[in-house]
């Protein structure tokens, strides 16, 4: 016990005396939070819209006004040249084009299936899908309003209009921060403990202090506990800090239990601290360790559903994500924040996550030897 406390005290002294380290621990994550939360916005807003109105009628102008009235779309230009549409798409000047054919209003008056054409840049499939949905909404709204005008009332006799009232659950504003911030917290609890524990062990290896520790009667578990407990504490401080900043700044709501969150985060940390130890056993220098950690991290993050929702991945990749401990914690974190889920709903993710954590941790601890070669 005395040994573990001495290790912990020493570790904290070293961290607090290392200014760049302090910056990495306390400032970088906050910057990360802001950059990620602002940059990776999955809200689809201000879609750049190009208008091609060959009809130039009252009806067509009304449609255009409807598109112009919402902040979902931003009209970036008008053209009568269809080649210009392609050019604008290629130069990223427009994402969507609304093409109204010359006979549109005539067909509409005669009830002959009037059509408009929507062309959309499908490179960003997610945005394209959402944009298309918005456009359909606007057009059907337009159709409904058109039909209920007095002069067309007569035709309405047999038509039952179904109107849809939308209610988006859990994230009513479709706010991307509400979805991203818990994800960022997961990323933080992955990067920070893994990097810190790996770097700190490898640094001691590099400068030779680990060798000096290894010839003392200090037991392996004392050495590792003394190393890991400070990073465990720091990780929790970071998590609290991140949540404390993100909730007011991004207007995030937390619907679940903080206690449950902390308990599950604790189990997740077995995975990331364990990976840190593992990395330290297979690398000799801080550079190698850094490289190795990045490599693992990129895979874990890509396969966690942080950027790309797992449901949108190809079947095979979806199956592979089950091997990624981060995947489970990503679900857990988002569910706790957004749905306020209790353990009754989370155990499906919590159990495999904890099993992975304990496996990875024990494997790494066994692999860590009190020897140099």
């Amino acid at each position: 016990m005395q040994q573990i406390l001495a290790m912990i005290r020493k570790e904290f002294k070293q961290i607090f005396r290392d200014i760049p380290m302090m910056a990495i621990i306390f400032i970088v994550p906050i910057i990360q939070l802001f950059v990620l939360a602002f940059a990776i916005t999955v809200d689809v807003k201000q879609i750049k819209l190009l208008i091609s109105d060959f009809d130039d009628s009252r009806a067509s102008r009304e449609i255009i006004r409807a598109f112009g009235n919402t902040d979902r779309f931003k009209i970036v230009g008008y053209t009568h040249d269809l080649n210009c549409v392609r050019g604008n798409f290629q130069e990223w000047k427009a994402q969507m084009a609304l093409i109204i054919p010359p006979d549109f209003s005539k067909k509409m008056a005669r009830n002959l299936h009037p059509q408009v054409q929507i062309s959309i840049d499908g490179v960003d499939g997610n945005t394209a899908g959402v944009a298309l949905g918005y456009a359909q909404g606007i057009l059907s709204q337009f159709g409904t309003e058109f039909l209920i005008q007095p002069q067309y009332r007569s035709r309405l006799k047999d038509v039952h209009l179904v109107t849809m009232v939308e209610r988006m659950w859990y994230n009513p504003d479709l706010s991307s921060e509400q979805y991203m911030v818990p994800g960022i917290a997961v990323v933080l609890l992955t990067i920070l403990p893994m990097m810190l524990s790996a770097m700190s062990l490898v640094r001691e290896k590099e400068i030779g202090t680990l060798e000096q520790l290894m010839v003392t009667p200090l037991k392996k578990h004392q050495l590792l506990l003394g190393k890991l407990i400070p990073f465990l504490i720091l990780s929790f401080i970071e998590l609290a800090l991140l949540i404390a900043i993100a909730m007011p700044v991004f207007n995030i709501s937390m619907n679940g239990s903080f206690f449950l969150l902390a308990v599950l985060a604790f189990f997740y940390l077995f995975t990331t601290l364990g990976l840190g130890i593992f990395i330290s056993t297979v690398t000799q220098t801080q550079q190698q360790a850094m490289f190795f950690a990045w490599f693992i991290m990129v895979f874990m993050i890509l396969m966690s559903g942080f950027f790309i929702p797992i449901e949108n991945m190809p079947q095979l990749l979806q199956k592979l994500t089950y091997l990624n401990p981060m995947r489970y914690f990503m679900y857990i974190m988002r569910d706790i924040f957004q749905k306020g889920s209790s353990i009754r709903f989370l155990y499906k993710d919590a159990v495999p996550m904890t099993i992975y954590g304990l496996l990875i941790f024990s494997f790494s601890v066994i692999k860590f030897q009190k020897r140099v070669g």
């Binding site: 002294k13 400068i207 202090t209 000096q212 009667p217 140099v372």
Partner: protein, 249 residues
């Protein structure tokens, strides 16, 4: 001299892949001795010490330290040895006092004990003016004294010192060796490696190592006599070849 054996090896060998770093080394070091290992860089001195301290597994042969088998009982050995590695390896970003207290706690000494040992060592090793300095700011000679102090905190009967004086001036080296003399007076055993030939003259016995093998062993006067040379340096050159000695001094 008391003939109690502190360190014993029989055909101790360590390979790295096909390369044999330590090749069938058999020695006996007695209690109260300063036993010197003389060899050029790459001779295998560090590898041998690491095996004796339980940091490396031997590939072959036997060995015991303080009566404990080096393969089976390395944790028992670790309680009874002090080790100064070739590279200075205390915490540069802790003060002298903090390093001493840290290692004291790691060795499981009680607070009172640590304070008492600190006082004894500080005056013995001569660290008084430096206690609150950051370790990284100390001159190399003082760092080495501190490292020796930390290695002796728990009062171990056997000390392994791997090139403890490399890189410091002759005066500081002499001071350090005086310290070693005082230390063996108290019945400790010192196993020390060096590539400085003059230091070999201070040892009770030396063994000369080349390419993993011991090629000569005995007291400095015996070695000089049997090879009919006036200094250990000349003996070494005769045995190993001049180009391998360290001529900096």
């Amino acid at each position: 001299m008391n003939r109690q054996i502190s360190v014993y090896t029989d055909q101790l060998t360590r390979r790295f892949g096909k390369f044999v770093a330590v090749d069938g080394v058999s020695i006996s070091v007695y209690r109260g001795e300063i036993f010197g290992f003389l060899g050029a860089n790459g001779a295998g001195k560090t590898t041998l010490i690491r095996m004796l301290c339980g940091l490396l597994k031997p590939s072959g042969g036997e060995g015991s330290v303080a009566g404990f088998d080096i393969k089976e009982k390395s944790e028992q050995i670790k309680k009874r040895i002090g080790y100064m590695s070739q590279r200075f390896s205390l915490y540069a970003d802790l003060t002298v006092t903090e390093n001493i207290h840290f290692y004291g706690a790691i060795y499981g000494l009680a607070k009172e004990e640590i304070r008492q040992r600190e006082e004894e060592l500080v005056s013995q090793v001569g660290l008084d003016p430096y206690m609150n300095q950051m370790t990284k700011d100390l001159p190399l000679g003082i760092k080495q004294r501190l490292a020796l102090g930390c290695a002796m905190l728990h009062n171990p009967p056997i000390l392994f010192l791997d090139e403890p004086t490399s890189g410091v001036d002759p005066q500081a080296r002499r001071g350090f060796w005086n310290l070693l003399y005082e230390t063996v007076q108290t019945g400790k055993t010192i196993f020390v490696t060096t590539h400085y030939m003059d230091e070999a003259e201070y040892c009770h016995r030396v063994s000369i190592m080349d390419q993993g093998k011991i090629i000569e062993m005995g007291s400095p006067s015996q070695l000089k006599e049997s090879h009919k040379k006036s200094t250990i340096q000349d003996v070494f050159i005769a045995l190993v070849g001049g180009e391998k000695t360290d001529q900096k001094e």
